[in-house]
C-alpha cells in the first residue's frame, strides 16, 4: 500500500473519532450544567464547568487568543464550530473529509458520500452561533456522522491493510481521549474541597456519559457510583469499547495485522504497542495508576504519543509536502 494512502486512512480514522469524542464531551457538559446544583463558595459554576474542557482538548492557549472568558457561550462555540480551532468538531470533520477526498479511489463510494454529506451539513452549512437547541443537535449530528461512517466502513471496506490503518487511527485517538478525559476529571476532583454527595454523583454521571460509559458501567457493577470503580472501569475493563485497556489491546492486534502484511518494514511499532498493552493488562488495581502513578496517566499519554511517532516513521516515511495553489496547475 502507498505510504501516503496508509497515512490518509489513519488520519481519516483519527479525525472522525475525534469529532465524535469532542461532540460527546460537549453535549454531556451542556446537559449536565442545566441541572447542576449551585455550590456555595465555588468560584462560579460556569467557569468551573467549561474551562476543564479546554484542558482535555489541549486548547487553552489558542482559546485565550480569541476569548477572555471560558463561559457557556465561548467554550462550546470554540470547541464545536470555531473555524480557527484546529481541534473543533467542524475542523475535525473538515480534515477527515480532506483525507477521504484524497482516498476517493480507495474507499467505497458510500463511505465518501457519507462523509461528504456530513461535511456539507456540519461544516459548510454549520450554524452561525450556539443557541438553545443548536449545540445539542449539532453534537448529536456529529456523533451520528461518525457512527454512520464507521458503520458503512465496516460493511463496505475490505477488512484488509487499509481497514487496519483506519482502525489504528481510530483506536489511538480513542485511547488518548479516554485518558485525557479521566486525567482532567481526577485533577478537578483533587482541587475541589469536600462537597455534598449530590454534587459528586452528578459529576460522576457526567464523566461516565462523556465517554458513553454510564449504562455499561451500571450493568457491570451492581453497586452505586464510586470513583474508584469508575476509574477501574474506564482504565482496565476488558470489554468496554472505550476503556483504555480495550483500545490498547485492539491497537496491538491491529498493528500486528499491519505488520504481517508488511514483513519488510521494521517491527518497532508493533513492539512498542505490545509493550504498552502488556503493561496495562498486568495492572490489577486502578490505584497503581491513579495513586501510585506507576505508570501515571501522563506516562500513558506520553507513550501513546511516542507510538504515534513510531507508526509514522515506520509506515509513513514520507514527509508531507504542502502543495500550494500555484503549483497545482490548471489543465486544458
Amino acid at each position: 500500500m502507498l505510504s501516503r494512502i496508509a497515512e490518509n486512512l489513519y488520519w481519516m480514522g483519527r479525525y472522525i473519532e475525534r469529532a465524535e469524542n469532542t461532540s460527546r464531551i460537549l453535549d454531556v457538559n451542556y446537559l449536565s450544567i442545566l441541572e447542576a446544583p449551585q455550590v456555595l463558595g465555588a468560584k462560579g459554576i460556569v467557569t468551573e464547568k467549561w474551562a476543564p474542557l479546554l484542558d482535555i482538548m489541549e486548547s487553552k492557549e489558542a482559546f485565550k487568543e480569541h476569548y477572555k472568558r471560558a463561559d457557556g457561550v465561548n467554550v462550546p462555540y470554540w470547541l464545536a464550530l470555531h473555524p480557527e480551532n484546529v481541534a473543533s468538531i467542524r475542523s475535525s470533520l473538515r480534515f477527515a473529509r480532506e483525507n477521504a477526498r484524497a482516498l476517493r479511489d480507495r474507499i467505497s463510494t458510500e463511505m465518501w458520500e457519507a462523509i461528504n454529506r456530513s461535511y456539507l451539513k456540519l461544516c459548510v452549512s454549520a450554524p452561525e452561533k450556539i443557541e438553545e437547541d443548536v449545540l445539542h443537535d449539532y453534537c448529536v449530528s456529529a456523533r451520528e456522522a461518525s457512527h454512520l461512517f464507521f458503520g458503512i466502513a465496516h460493511a463496505t471496506l475490505p477488512h484488509d491493510l487499509g481497514w487496519y490503518f483506519m482502525r489504528a487511527g481510530q483506536f489511538l485517538e480513542r485511547a488518548d481521549n479516554t485518558l485525557r478525559t479521566l486525567q482532567v476529571n481526577i485533577q478537578q476532583s483533587g482541587i475541589r474541597g469536600p462537597v455534598e454527595a449530590g454534587v459528586e454523583i452528578h459529576r460522576d454521571i457526567a464523566l461516565l456519559k462523556s465517554v458513553s460509559a454510564y449504562e455499561a458501567y451500571r450493568k457491570y457493577y451492581d453497586t452505586g457510583l464510586n470513583s474508584k470503580l469508575i476509574y477501574e472501569f474506564l482504565l482496565l475493563n476488558e470489554s468496554f469499547p472505550r476503556s483504555v485497556r480495550y483500545c490498547l489491546e485492539l491497537l496491538s492486534e491491529t498493528i500486528g495485522k499491519i505488520q504481517l502484511e508488511n514483513l519488510d518494514a521494521s517491527s518497532k511499532a508493533l513492539e512498542e504497542a505490545n509493550a504498552l498493552t502488556s503493561v496495562i493488562c498486568a495492572i490489577q488495581d486502578e490505584a497503581q495508576i491513579t495513586v501510585q502513578a506507576k505508570p501515571s496517566m501522563q506516562d500513558l499519554i506520553n507513550q501513546i504519543a511516542a507510538l504515534t511517532m513510531t507508526l509514522s516513521s515506520v509506515y509513513f516515511t514520507l514527509q508531507p509536502v504542502k502543495i500550494s495553489q500555484t503549483q497545482s496547475q490548471s489543465q486544458a
Binding site: 465518501w112 508488511n262 514520507l318 497545482s328 496547475q329 486544458a332
Partner: protein, 485 residues
C-alpha cells in the same frame, strides 16, 4: 404558457440549431426526446431536474475554481436536454478524427527524429524548434508503436451551415471525460424513459479502453500502471481519482514516486514497488524538476532519464504540446496532406497568424469581427471576442498583439451552433451555443468512444463554453442507426 409551448417557443435567429430545423419543427432525430419531455410534464420535469443537482453535490463531482479565495468546489452545471448526434454524422466525425490524430502522431514522430517536414518547409522551422513546448530532451527516443498522444480531446464546433470544424486539439492531458461518463449515468437515472428504445450507443466502457491503451505501452503481461495527479487541490482531481478507481489502478502523487537503480518506484508501507506505465495528468514542465521546471514539487526527479531508456512509459508522451499550440493548429491541414496525402475530412476554422505580416494586418483592421487568441492561452483566458468587447478593450488587447505578434492568432467569430437548454430562472428552454469534445485513445489501435463532452455556454449569448467561465455541459447521445424518428 404550457410546458409544451415552452419547449417550442424558441427563437432560432440566424444560427444553426441542433434540435430545430425551423421554428416549431424539431429535427427528426430530436422528435422522440422532445415528446418525452412533454410527456413528463412540467412539475415532474422540475422534480427530476432538481434531483440531478443534489446527486452531483452529494457525490462531490466538483471542480475547484482557481483564484477563488475560498478554494470553493463547484458542481459543473448540467443541462438535462441531451445533445443528439445521428449515426451518419458520427461516422463522418469518427473518420475525420482518426485521420487527424494519425497525421498528428506522424508529425510528432517526424519532428523528434528526421524532421523531414521542416526540411520540406511545410511548416516554419522556428515555429516548431523555438516553441516552448518543443522538448529537445526527447529527440530520437523510440516510443511504443510510435505513438505520442495516447489520450486526445478534440474540440469540435459546428458553424452556421452545420459544418463540423475542429477548433482546437488538446494533446497534453485533456480533461472532462469523467463528466462525459457522469452525465450519462445521471441522465439514465433521472430521465430513463427518454433513453429507452432510442438505441443510444453506450460509453461506459471508456475506462476499460483507457486501461487497454495504457497496457499496450508495456511489453510486460501485467504491467504496474498508475495515474499521476498533481493532488487533490487540482481542478481535475475528481477525474483523476475517478479514472484510477474505474481502471483499478493506483492514484499517485509525485511524492509517492522516486527514481532508484534506473527505474521508477512507488513508496509503499512495505518498501518500494516498480512502476511500468504512468498516465500522467501533470504538464511536461512539472514532470521532472531535474529536467524541466526546477521549482516543481509535483513531479519525480530523474524520471526523464528512465523514460529515455524505455524503462517507464508516459501517457501522453513528453513534448506533444508543440502540436496543439494555436499557431501549429493552423498548419494541421497541411500536415494531414503532407503525411497522408489526403484532404482533411473535418476542416479547421479559418485562422490568421500574427506571425505572418498579412495575417497581422488583417487582425489589426478587423478586430471586431474576430476572436483573437494568445497562442499559449487555455481555458478561455487570454482571448478577445471582438463582438463582445468595446473600443477600449480592443485597443488595449491590440497593443499587446502589436508588441508580440507571434504570440497571437485570430479566427472569424464562428457562430457556434445552438441547442435548447433549460433556464430555471425563466422556466424556458433557451438556445445556447455548444461545442463537442470527443476523446480519442491511441495505443496499439485507435479507439473513439461514441460521443464526447458537450459543453454549453450558459451565460446568455456567450460563445465561451469553458467551465471556468460559466460553462455547463450536457449528455451527448450518438444514435446507433438513423432510421427512426
Amino acid at each position: 404558457m404550457s410546458f409544451a409551448e415552452a419547449m417550442f417557443k424558441y427563437d432560432l435567429g440566424s444560427f444553426f440549431d441542433e434540435a430545430f430545423e425551423r421554428s416549431q419543427a424539431p429535427r427528426d432525430h430530436y422528435r422522440s426526446v422532445i415528446e418525452g419531455f412533454i410527456a413528463y410534464g412540467e412539475s415532474e420535469f422540475q422534480r427530476r431536474r432538481a434531483l440531478i443537482e443534489l446527486v452531483f453535490r452529494n457525490q462531490g463531482i466538483t471542480f475547484t475554481v482557481y483564484g477563488d479565495e475560498k478554494g470553493t468546489e463547484r458542481t459543473f452545471p448540467f443541462d438535462p436536454f441531451p445533445r443528439i448526434i445521428t449515426a451518419t454524422e458520427w461516422a463522418h466525425l469518427e473518420k475525420g478524427l482518426r485521420q487527424r490524430v494519425k497525421a498528428i502522431n506522424m508529425f510528432l514522430r517526424d519532428i523528434y527524429h528526421e524532421q523531414e517536414i521542416l526540411k520540406d518547409q511545410i511548416i516554419p522551422k522556428d515555429l516548431v524548434l523555438n516553441n516552448p513546448s518543443f522538448r529537445k530532451q526527447v529527440k530520437g527516443i523510440k516510443l511504443p508503436h510510435d505513438i505520442y498522444t495516447h489520450v486526445i480531446g478534440c474540440d469540435l464546433i459546428r458553424d452556421a451551415n452545420g459544418v463540423y470544424r475542429v477548433l482546437e486539439d488538446n494533446l497534453r492531458s485533456p480533461s472532462g471525460v469523467s463528466y462525459m461518463l457522469g452525465n450519462r449515468s445521471v441522465m439514465a437515472r433521472s430521465f430513463p424513459k427518454l433513453l429507452e428504445g432510442l438505441h443510444v450507443r453506450p460509453i461506459g466502457h471508456y475506462p476499460l479502453e483507457l486501461l487497454k491503451t495504457l497496457r499496450s505501452l508495456s511489453d510486460k503481461s501485467r504491467p504496474t500502471i498508475v495515474v499521476l495527479t498533481p493532488g487533490q487541490y487540482n481542478s481535475a482531481y475528481f477525474e483523476h481519482s475517478y479514472l484510477a478507481q474505474q481502471m483499478g489502478v493506483q492514484l499517485v502523487e509525485g511524492r509517492d514516486l522516486f527514481v532508484e537503480d534506473g527505474y521508477v518506484w512507488m513508496r509503499t508501507t512495505n518498501g518500494r514497488e516498480k512502476v511500468d506505465v504512468i498516465y500522467r495528468r501533470i504538464d511536461d514542465n512539472f514532470l521532472d524538476p531535474e529536467a524541466f521546471n526546477k521549482e516543481s514539487m509535483l513531479g519525480v526527479a530523474g524520471i526523464l532519464e528512465v523514460y529515455k531508456k524505455g524503462r517507464v512509459a508516459l501517457a501522453n508522451a513528453i513534448g506533444t504540446g508543440v502540436a496543439d499550440d494555436k499557431a501549429t493548429y493552423a498548419y494541421i491541414p497541411r500536415i494531414i496532406k503532407y503525411y497522408l496525402n489526403e484532404e482533411p475530412i473535418i476542416p479547421n476554422v479559418e485562422t490568421f497568424l500574427g506571425a505572418e505580416p498579412e495575417g497581422l494586418a488583417y487582425m489589426l483592421e478587423n478586430a471586431e469581427k474576430l476572436v483573437i487568441k494568445e497562442v499559449g492561452g487555455a481555458g478561455g483566458y487570454g482571448m478577445l471576442v471582438g463582438s463582445e468587447s468595446d473600443e477600449k478593450q480592443r485597443k488595449t488587447f491590440l497593443e499587446a498583439v502589436k508588441a508580440d505578434p507571434d504570440n497571437y492568432i485570430a479566427q472569424p467569430i464562428i457562430q457556434l451552433s445552438r441547442h435548447p437548454t433549460y433556464y430555471p430562472d425563466s422556466k424556458h428552454f433557451e438556445p445556447c451555443h455548444i461545442d463537442l469534445r470527443p476523446y480519442i485513445l491511441m495505443g496499439e489501435e485507435i479507439t473513439i468512444v461514441p460521443g464526447g463532452l458537450t459543453r454549453v455556454a450558459l451565460k446568455r449569448g456567450s460563445l465561451v463554453v469553458n467551465s471556468s467561465q460559466g460553462g455547463g455541459s450536457k449528455d451527448t447521445w450518438v444514435l446507433a442507426e438513423d432510421n427512426h424518428a
